[in-house]
């Protein structure tokens, strides 16, 4: 099957959607499918890109939905998207996050034929949908199949687009995590692992740090291993001086080292306060075999099978968190039991199973050859695209927009000529 996938966020910036697109593509290619990914790329040297990734141009940082999103949207990106669709001859087009103003949205406008969309965000309000909802509707209406990665994301789709979505979870490479070794040189002291941005409030590191004194009272030898980017000094200041040597800050860890970080602890702690749609990190820790203690958020409750595959604690409650962590650290048989049930749960999230489910969707929308056909360039945008495609060397969206506008203004006198001599109508068509 020839599959075209669009990723709205910059490829070389780490992120959940990018990782999802990368892993899904790799598994589809592993099954023998032809995959091409169109995505914004920042690094002008494209040699480091995997062979299946095509750059849609540099992204522009835009404040969006409370954080800075790096997006591409404009004439040059549209031109590239159309060319990619034309040359790709895809059997199915899979757009990720089509409501984010970037390549996925452009592809929705520019394509017709069998289209699948995956919705990742659980943010109840999408700025783009609020402002441009009506204008986006016709593009979103072309999508033949909608996938949501979590129950929360699915609810957003139903509320905003008035249509149901099939639930297919995020995938995890279970085998890669299952065989993980601890980081070299680790002591055998009971260790709690935290992974996530240390300065992002909703990841809840502050709650865990607040629980630390009580936890030390319960488990005197306990250590805290913190992995994730952010300002380390702020974290140190939040810990009483006497306990600072208990906290080890690893900074940003690579994807490859993530599994070793989990394997270096007896317990993985996810004290998140809100705003989690899925909990992929929990699944990764569970795949490693590290028992999880997590906030009782809806997404986490689902992943932890209502508490059967991990411990749920009240949100923002340092006392309860310390008690739960302490009890679990002192109970190795319970750790083993939780790890065993977690391993069962995690199988449903293995990429092998997730890829199969995504392929089921592809084949359902693309199998019926005559009515569905191939993915094609939507002729509706031809006029607009022809106006924008007259290249003049500028290679960013803003420059292209300005030059198009300038050309259009320069063409104004000629419009007057045409009304006088009808022959002139044909000279530029």
């Amino acid at each position: 099957m020839r599959i075209g996938i669009t990723c709205p966020y910059t490829w070389d910036v780490p992120g959940g959607v990018q990782a999802h697109v990368r892993d899904l593509s790799a598994h589809l290619i592993g099954l023998g499918h032809d995959v091409s990914v169109l995505t914004p790329v920042d690094d002008p040297d494209e040699a480091h890109l995997p062979p299946y990734v095509l750059s849609a141009g540099r992204a522009v940082p835009v404040p969006y939905n409370g954080s800075v999103a790096r997006l591409v949207f404009g004439p040059l990106s549209l031109t590239r998207t159309r060319r990619w669709l034309r040359e790709g001859e895809f059997d199915v087009l899979h757009v990720h996050e089509p409501t984010v103003p970037s390549v996925s949205m452009l592809a929705c406008f520019a394509a017709s034929g069998p289209m699948v969309a995956t919705f990742h965000t659980a943010t109840a309000r999408s700025r783009a949908l609020q402002v441009f909802g009506t204008a986006l509707q016709p593009a979103l209406e072309k999508i033949s199949a909608r996938i949501a990665v979590s129950a929360a994301a699915r609810r957003v789709v139903v509320e905003h687009l008035g249509a149901d979505a099939v639930l297919i979870p995020n995938g995890v490479d279970v085998a890669r995590f299952a065989g993980a070794q601890p980081l070299p040189g680790r002591s055998a002291a009971p260790t709690v692992v935290f992974l996530g941005r240390i300065d992002e409030g909703r990841k809840g590191l502050a709650v865990l740090l607040e629980a630390l004194p009580e936890l030390v009272r319960l488990v005197p030898g306990v250590r805290l291993l913190v992995a994730g980017p952010g300002n380390a000094d702020d974290v140190r200041e939040a810990v009483p001086r006497s306990l600072r040597d208990r906290v080890e800050l690893l900074g940003l860890v690579s994807d490859a080292d993530k599994s070793s970080v989990f394997a270096s602890g007896q317990v993985y702690c996810a004290p998140n306060t809100h705003g989690e749609s899925f909990g992929i990190v929990l699944v990764e820790a569970m795949a490693t075999g590290t028992p999880v203690v997590a906030s009782d958020l809806e997404a986490f409750r689902r992943v932890l099978d209502e508490g059967r595959a991990g411990v749920l604690v009240p949100v923002r409650d340092p006392g309860a968190l310390a008690a739960a962590l302490g009890a679990l650290l002192c109970d190795p048989p319970r750790q083993a039991r939780l790890a065993a049930s977690a391993r069962e749960v995690v199988r449903a999230y293995d990429w092998a199973s997730v890829t199969r489910q995504v392929l089921d969707v592809y084949e359902t929308v693309a199998d019926t050859a005559p009515p569905a056909g191939h993915v094609e360039v939507d002729p509706e945008l031809d006029t607009l695209a022809a106006l924008l495609e007259k290249g003049d060397g500028t290679d960013d969206d803003a420059g292209r927009l300005v030059s198009t506008l300038r050309r259009w203004l320069a063409d104004r006198p000629r419009l007057a000529d045409r009304t006088r001599s009808p022959e002139a109508w044909t000279d530029r068509s």
Binding site: A163, T364, E380
Partner: protein
């Protein structure tokens, strides 16, 4: 005045085009659903043939045949009967090629039904608006209907 007229013409042609696409999507979604329903019924007959002779196998085979032969009118009812007959036949003998095909087909029927009904919902939402309805922008095409069947297959 002229501007308003131009706007109205643009709106009408654009909405008509939009409805055209939506109907094409419904057609494609129905073709997919139809194909998967036929596949499921055929798989159900193959599974029925592997069951020990008895009332369960006979009911399943009869329901599958009825589903294959049903016209547009009785299709929903026949497919629902087949879902029920399949559930009654549980647990099926495990790990046969026939059962694998039946499971795939059942999953696909569920997906195809959901995609079809989403397409129908999107189309109806536009068609039932006041202006498209008054101007008959959908032409002679019948209002697409939801296909409601129960595809749950508890294992």
């Amino acid at each position: 005045m002229l501007g308003l007229l131009v706007l109205a013409v643009v709106y009408v042609t654009w909405t008509a085009g939009r409805l055209d696409r939506l109907h094409a999507r419904v057609d494609a979604a129905w073709a997919a659903l139809d194909a998967q329903l036929v596949r499921r019924a055929a798989a159900a007959r193959a599974v029925a043939a592997t069951l020990p002779p008895g009332p369960v196998a006979e009911t399943l085979d009869a329901a599958a045949r009825a589903a294959l032969e049903a016209g547009a009118e009785g299709r929903e009812a026949c497919e629902n009967d087949l879902s029920r007959a399949l559930r009654a036949a549980l647990p099926l003998p495990p790990d046969s090629a026939e059962l694998g095909e039946l499971e795939t087909a059942t999953t696909r029927v569920g997906l195809a039904r959901s995609f079809h009904n989403a397409a129908v919902g999107d189309t109806r939402a536009i068609r039932l608006r006041r202006i498209p309805r008054a101007l008959r922008l959908a032409g002679h095409r019948a209002l697409p209907q939801f296909f409601e069947i129960d595809t749950a297959m508890a294992q």
